[in-house]
């Protein structure tokens, strides 16, 4: 079986977001770009499955839709352990566009399991994985917090409100992963970094598609009022404020 892991290139999660061009885009000056945290965990789990010879997973490929400037993020995924990579050469403007490109890649090459993170930390869309599966007409399982292979059959745990379900769907399928999929992201070792340089990155040209949505302007979150401090010896005052001022208890 072959796994495809979809990778998004996002600002480091500690970035202080600033806007540019009349708040229509993000000021990228000084931003550190990283693999989207969910995708890093999903890649980690894919590699753990491959490490177990009994799983029958033969290869782990990463795919990214983005311009050449996101090459370092792809190299990082290869350094962590992916076997090869595919980059669709385009600005990843919007979910519909990105999902369409990845679906085109999957149509040309065979994969059994396609893994996507539940959201990217930039647009917080939570839609790319589901869209890929619908473009391909294959099953998708969302909110996946665990995946293992039992006798050649992928078995997933998915989160439901107030519980979990163990589910199976026939391959090929898209697994949309979240918390629990892997504990800690795998870190690239020196050897991995050296090897990554010679691993293949296949370049694919994008297919023209009309995007369905467009961000027109960004806004900062509404500022919060300054914190009111209450004496540690008198927490009753906090309860009073929550009850009579904020009216939340």
């Amino acid at each position: 079986m072959k796994i495809l892991v979809c990778i998004s290139n996002v600002p480091d999660t500690t970035t202080k977001i600033k806007f540019a061009e009349g708040n229509t885009s993000i000021d990228t000056t000084g931003i550190q770009w990283v693999i989207n945290p969910w995708d890093e965990l999903s890649l980690t789990r894919a590699l753990e499955l491959k490490d177990d010879a009994a799983s029958g997973i033969k290869s782990v490929t990463v795919v990214h839709v983005g311009p050449s400037t996101s090459e370092p993020t792809i190299r990082k995924a290869l350094a962590i352990g992916a076997d090869d990579a595919i980059r669709v050469n385009a600005e990843s403007s919007e979910a519909w566009f990105v999902a369409f490109q990845i679906a085109e890649v999957v149509k040309k090459e065979q994969f059994d399991i396609i893994m996507c993170g539940i959201e990217s930390s930039d647009y917080n869309g939570s839609v790319v994985g589901g869209m890929i599966s619908e473009f391909l007409g294959i099953p998708s399982v969302s909110a996946v917090s665990g995946i293992k292979i039992e006798n050649g059959q992928p078995v997933m745990t998915r989160e439901i409100d107030g519980g979990k379900e163990v589910v199976i769907v026939p391959a090929p399928f898209v697994a949309i992963v979240q918390k629990g999929i892997a504990k800690e992201p795998r870190i690239a070792a020196m050897r991995g970094i050296m090897m990554a340089r010679s691993k293949p990155v296949k370049l694919v040209e994008s297919v023209a598609v009309e995007p369905l949505t467009q961000i027109v302007v960004f806004e900062k979150p509404a500022p919060r009022a300054a914190c009111k401090f209450i004496d540690a010896d008198n927490p009753a005052q906090l309860i009073d404020l929550l009850q009579n001022e904020a009216k939340v208890i």
Partner: protein
Amino acid sequence: MSVLVYTENWDGKFKKLSFELVSYATGVAKMLSTSVTAVSIGKVDESELKKLGNYGADKIISVSNDQLIALDSQAYTSVISEISQKENATVIIISNNNTGKAIAPRLSVRLKAGVGSGVSKLPLNLNPFTVYKRTYSGNAFAHVVIKSDVKIITLAQNSFDLIEIANNATIENLNVPIDGSLLKTVVKDVQKQTGKIVLTDADIVVSGGRGMKSPDNWPSLVELATLLGAATACSRPVSDEGWRPNDEHTGQTGKIIAPNLYIAVGISGATQHLAGISSSKYIVAINTDKDAPIFEASQYGIVGDAMKVLPKLVAAVKEIK
């Protein structure tokens, strides 16, 4: 033309989330001068379905097909897309919860409808159709134009107030035959937690961080939560250490919540933690370090040792309850 809203049920019952969705759909329908059709999938009795009318639904379509008990994203997408075409829906509203995230993107492709996800306000504009959504994990909000004829909105939980409008909604029981071979999801096991408040539903959340020092110190935090009718949560290191269950972890890589009140005890307020809680209406912080970043995100704060403050808070809440 109509606004369609998918209202999920839990063991045949709706919850606040369902009524928020219908209230929101009613708001959108008002802007468009049209009506609201709610779609329910699964076995829900008539008195429960009628409740959707209290928030402005005009029509309720109930599909109580035995094959649709477990969530199968393809089958659910087929049912909702079929009904939306039949009802000539121009806007489809779904929750941004796990189920909504499973269905909305598939529906988007099926209907060639753009999605605005994690929306927290009524549309800002109808022409062009513009929604307001969370981006950069709460560090920015975006105005997003949806260009397609049909629009899908996934609504952020706890972001929209209930609006009660007594409407005597009509109920239509619809039988949507499903080709068995389309049902691909096999559920082998279900584990449900009973009696615990679902974190994403909670109005009040009491959350503990590494400043709680040890899992042995949790009883007073749990007692405070119980007294307040609150859910309990934690920061990532706390769940990573196994001090608290995984499903309590909030933040960038955990749950994203928006309660009315979030009480952060011994939590420093790292950006990745704030990413999960910044939409809370009120944040209270209890921390020994007066410079902890959590205070910048809070409206009320106590600089002090959690182990000393928590018992006093418990006592103070007992006074008023």
